[in-house]
């Protein structure tokens, strides 16, 4: 699975570790983990497994028994459902 940033028009972080993102006039609050993940995602497509390794290196492995890859993919899907990021299967090719 690959991921890139969605259509968020603005983003703000404070010292709490959380971030606010503005999407379609709504402001969503991202958890500290989601905020760290979003910081690793750019405008271009990025492999989620690679992000999982970076995230695990930054905050440690998941504590609930899931693999870093599975936990990161789950979090990416949650963010995608809210429009914060876009995802596509690894074998897909971007249009254009």
């Amino acid at each position: 699975m690959k991921v890139r940033r969605g259509k968020s028009t603005d983003e703000y972080r404070d010292g709490s570790g959380e971030a606010a993102v503005l999407i379609d006039g709504r402001v969503l609050v991202l958890s500290p983990l989601a905020t760290r993940l979003l910081a690793l995602i750019g405008e271009g497509w990025t492999d989620v497994d690679g992000l999982a390794a970076s995230l695990a290196a930054a905050v440690g492995p998941p504590t609930d028994g899931r693999s870093a890859e599975k936990a990161t993919a789950d979090l990416v899907r949650e963010l995608a459902a809210d429009g914060v990021v876009e995802v596509r299967d690894a074998e897909d090719r971007p249009n254009g």
Binding site: T9, D10, E11, Y12, R13, D14, S16, E18, A19, A20, L22, G25, R26, V27, L28, V29
Partner: protein, 261 residues
């Protein structure tokens, strides 16, 4: 709110409409000295003929067959026009605004319609300067532009029509003191069962999410989240207040404006 308003009256009862509007909105009338570079214009039609009113309404006029109804519909239309004119320039909170008449320390009481802004304004405005019960417009420097519109009060048996009361006629303080500067933002949550207020600070990120639905034209602002965050932090952060009665809220606000900045 830093704009001139031009109302063009028409209809069989145009004069009656004008006199009533000027009475209700007397606290927003200019001093004859201050001029504003921009203006908002609305056509106002009071006429007993339904057809005439319908045609005027279709042309965009604020129109009604009765005076109470006209005043009722004028208030939100005028507010909407002013807010639209400032879109992208000011942070406009759906809030009541009250200022300490001595220091200018100003609080915004943010809440959706029908959840206590006008009631709180009527109580607090007797000892604090009433700035608005609807829209607190804040510039980048934290200065609040007063909008002492009529108090819109739901009358018993009024068929949903709100009576428009001139604030000064209701004993509210509407002028004087130092320029209002926003030093407190309270997000109101009225719970009639509460016997004491519950006051909790909110982080800036969470404040942005909580305030966003109560900010007009948020997305028209340049860097909206940073702009609002700057105003929130300048005001000392958002405070969530759950309260039962307006008197509890008055205590919270009085302590805040009385506190050393």
């Amino acid at each position: 709110m830093g704009l001139s308003v031009v109302l063009r009256y028409a209809g069989a009862h145009a004069r009656q409409a004008r006199e009533a509007v000027e009475r209700c909105w007397s606290d927003c009338l200019g001093d004859g000295l201050t001029s504003y570079p921009e203006s908002v214009t609305l056509d106002v039609v009071l006429d007993p003929d339904v057809g005439t009113v319908g045609q005027a309404g279709a042309r965009g006029a604020v129109a009604a067959t009765g005076l109470d109804e006209l005043l009722h519909v004028l208030s939100p239309r005028l507010t909407a026009a002013l807010v639209e004119a400032h879109a992208g320039r000011l942070v406009m909170l759906h809030a009541a605004g009250l200022a300490d008449p001595g220091t200018g320390r100003t609080v915004a009481l943010v809440a959706p319609s029908g959840t206590g802004k006008t009631t709180a304004s009527r109580l607090l405005g007797r000892t604090m300067r009433y700035l608005t019960d609807e829209t607190v417009a804040v510039d980048a420097g934290g200065r609040v532009l007063p909008y002492p519109k009529p108090l819109s009060v739901l009358a018993e048996g009024g068929n949903g029509i709100k009576t428009q009361l001139a604030p000064s006629d209701e004993g509210l303080i509407v002028a004087g003191g130092r320029g209002p500067e926003l030093t407190g933002i309270f997000l109101l949550d009225r719970d009639p069962s509460r016997t004491a207020p519950q006051v909790e600070p909110v982080t800036t990120v969470r404040a942005l999410a909580l305030l966003a639905p109560q900010i007009s034209y948020l997305t028209r602002l340049d860097r909206p989240l940073a702009t609002v965050a700057s105003i929130v932090e300048r005001a000392g952060g958002l405070v969530s207040v759950r309260y039962g009665e307006a008197a509890q809220l008055a205590d919270v606000v009085s302590r805040h404006v009385g506190a050393t900045p």
